[in-house]
């Protein structure tokens, strides 16, 4: 999935660069650990077909603690390694936050917590941050607690209207966006100076073996479906999906596609393995910051981009719901959101954050990768609500199409 921005301080940049070199290692290591959990998971595999589970008793009043599972480098960090916004929150709320960079991929995280989660038991976190397609599953399966909007005035006031009514969770009863991003096209300006405006340019024979697509089917198929004129947040069906999937199959069979990646396409770009790819907006910002030039270009295809979010959710067995809501509310303060956005470089779902950022970093505040213009947002969509059958069938079909 997604990541962080570059602070200006060169020492910090050096530190982050160092940290990022080990990023893939950490991610893949976690993947290995996830596979280890396969055995444990299978051994403990409870029969499916969840009986209804109910929220755990909220002990927030007596226990001023909160355990938050988030992605690596997905929050502001200062030179001392502390999280300034989180420190401020702890001071003002009196809640001790146990912040864990526990999520390296939605799939791996789910594999680890799945059994407790499905049984409504405490998974060890009161708050987790998962991407749309996974959040949709969580909501659909009823394994997350309803969130009380009344307890979060900032969210009510500042949640971006574009995200307020996601189809899998109308009215945002179970999930609140943490950060958002756009899936679009990225290219190396040196090797592909013309830039791209359409997915079809990825299939240029000159780029054979020099492109990557994204691992998750929602990103890749979402972009292709839109290029075929399908509006993904409205009604579409198997035929439209199959048409998009055919494109993937063909390009894999033709060896046009070098690999399917997560955000490690940045290394593929850096080592010259690829010239263009499906990418996430924030990553391109970081790659350019690292290269200290506009080495890479990014565009949302004219026929439409894919807008996604990582969302706060409270597992059914989490006993600190009120504390979690207090934290979510805090991060919907535009000033706080601007601070975070200035660090992570993805799109903040908090209205007013751009104005706040203007106050301390006007250049950043006018960067379209962080605050995309209205036109870009207008042609970017999220997926409509999927039935379990669709989710399952499409995931499986895409997974098989990835293999030649």
């Amino acid at each position: 999935m997604t990541e962080r921005p570059m602070p200006k301080d060169p020492r910090v940049q050096a530190l982050i660069k160092h940290a990022m070199q080990s990023k893939v290692t950490r991610r893949t290591l976690l993947a290995t650990a996830g596979a280890g959990a396969v055995v444990a998971g299978l051994a403990a595999c409870a029969p499916g077909g969840s009986s209804a589970i109910s929220p755990a008793k909220d002990t927030s009043a007596s226990e001023k603690t909160l355990r938050w599972a988030n992605w690596p480098l997905y929050i502001d960090v200062d030179d001392a390694g502390a999280y300034p916004t989180l420190v401020a929150f702890q001071e003002q709320s009196g809640i001790t936050v146990d912040y864990q960079e526990a999520i390296s991929s939605n799939e791996d995280f789910y594999a680890v917590v799945k059994d407790q989660l499905e049984l409504g038991q405490d998974i060890g976190y009161d708050l987790m941050t998962l991407t749309d397609y996974f959040a949709a599953r969580m909501v659909r399966r009823g394994v997350v607690q309803p969130i009380d909007m009344a307890a979060m005035p900032n969210v009510k006031a500042n949640l971006s209207p574009a995200l307020a009514n996601i189809t899998y969770d109308p009215g945002r009863q179970y999930s609140i966006p943490w950060q958002s991003g756009l899936t679009g096209l990225g290219w190396n300006n040196a090797d592909f100076p013309g830039g791209m405006t359409s997915i079809d340019e990825l299939w240029d024979p000159l780029l054979k073996g020099k492109i990557t697509l994204l691992n998750s089917w929602t990103d890749t198929i979402g972009l292709i479906m839109q290029s075929q004129g399908v509006n993904i947040d409205e009604s579409w069906g198997q035929d439209q999906f199959d048409a998009a999937l055919e494109v993937v199959k063909k390009q894999v069979a033709d060896r046009q596609v070098r690999a399917f990646t997560g955000n490690n396409y940045s290394e593929e770009f850096a080592s010259g393995n690829i010239t263009a790819a499906m990418v996430w907006s924030g990553d391109l910002f970081i790659m350019n910051t690292e290269a200290q030039s506009d080495k890479y270009g990014f565009a949302v295809p004219e026929k439409g981009g894919y807008l996604w979010s990582d969302n706060f959710m409270i597992p059914m067995g989490a006993p600190h719901k009120a504390n979690a809501e207090e934290l979510i509310n805090y991060y919907y303060d535009p000033a706080v959101a601007a601070q975070v956005a200035a660090y992570v470089n993805f799109i903040t779902p908090v209205v007013g954050a751009q104005e706040e950022m203007m106050k301390f970093d006007p250049a950043l505040a006018s960067n379209p990768l962080i605050f995309p213009d209205a036109a870009t947002l207008a042609r970017s969509h999220a997926f409509r609500q999927l039935t379990p059958e669709e989710d399952s069938a499409y995931s499986i079909a895409f997974e098989k199409a990835k293999v030649a």
Binding site: K114, R140, A259, F260, G262, S271, G272, S395
Partner: protein, 304 residues
């Protein structure tokens, strides 16, 4: 002749009389309990999972216990080619590792006996890669053979590779990675047997008119079979189940999927636990059969 005089010394070596005492059972108990808990239980759970059927009106990843043998049929139909590819890659990697490891092990274990310091240094060099994460080393190779690397530029400049050729994402890269990563597992067991190789057998062979090459094939090689067998098993088994090298994040690509990758994708991504479990069981079963045939044919049952 007079040898009959001491024919009584010619008795066969008898097996020591077996005593099954209660103490032995008590001593075995912790080990058996451990095996039951950490080997049998997961295995049974895995088998049960592999037979599960999708829950009625269930969501992704929701299954109920059943006896759906069709899961195996489905897996064989769908992943037959992947299995062949896995074992093919593993076999080639094992052979390559053997060809590379044997001379190294021979040098360390036999030739360098007179110089313990050189022996120690060479052993450290063999083991040294273990000090660095397996994943990091594999990624390093990905860097070394990336399209813009000087390695690839040189190979292209020398016309060894075509101008548009790339290394990562190809079967060759995956086999290369498997070979590289498992070489220590091949070298160390062979070294261990060669290190104990009694060079007096080699002298005896030379004394019996065998040229050095004949001595190698008739004496040294057969006597190092236990090491070769353990080395090839230690390489082949993990290599056939490996999912790192063939992964698109490392040296593989869309056309190099191995069984390990299929299991990972079924388990983690599309939540098809029965298929993942059935694949694991199949992998285990096929490996067991291959290993059994191999050990039987190499005639080293009593040596390993």
């Amino acid at each position: 002749m007079a040898f009959a005089a001491f024919a009584n010394t010619a008795q066969a070596v008898d097996a020591a009389p077996r005593k099954s005492s209660k103490i032995a059972l008590v001593l075995l108990a912790p080990g058996l309990a451990y095996l039951a808990l950490f080997f049998l239980t997961p295995l049974v759970a895995l088998i049960l999972t592999s037979l599960q059927a999708p829950a009625l009106y269930g969501d992704m990843g929701e299954y109920v216990y059943a006896f759906r043998w069709e899961n195996y049929v489905a897996v064989v139909n769908e992943y037959g080619e992947t299995f062949l590819r896995s074992f093919g890659y593993a076999l080639i990697a094992t052979m390559a590792a053997l060809l590379i490891s044997y001379p190294i092990a021979y040098f360390i274990g036999v030739r360098a006996r007179k110089w313990p310091a050189i022996q120690a240094i060479a052993l450290i060099l063999v083991i040294a890669p273990f000090f660095i994460s397996f994943l990091l080393r594999t990624l390093a190779w990905k860097q070394i053979f990336s399209d813009d690397s000087w390695t690839m530029e040189t190979l292209k400049a020398l016309s060894i590779l075509g101008p548009d050729a790339h290394f990562t994402g190809t079967p060759f890269a995956v086999i290369f990675g498997l070979t590289y990563n498992f070489i220590p597992f091949m070298t160390l067991p062979i070294y261990t047997t060669l290190e104990r190789l009694d060079t007096r057998y080699l002298e005896a062979s030379g004394d019996l008119y065998a040229r050095p090459s004949t001595t190698f094939f008739k004496v040294t090689l057969p006597l190092s079979m236990p090491g070769i067998v353990s080395g090839t098993l230690l390489t082949f088994i993990p290599a056939s189940g490996d999912y790192i090298n063939a992964s698109g994040d490392f040296l593989g690509g869309p056309s190099t999927q191995m069984v390990g990758n299929a299991i990972q994708s079924n388990f983690l991504v599309i939540l098809q636990y029965p298929a993942a479990a059935a694949l694991s069981i199949m992998l285990m079963a096929v490996i067991l059969v291959i290993v059994a045939i191999y050990v039987k044919r190499s005639g080293t049952e009593d040596l390993i």
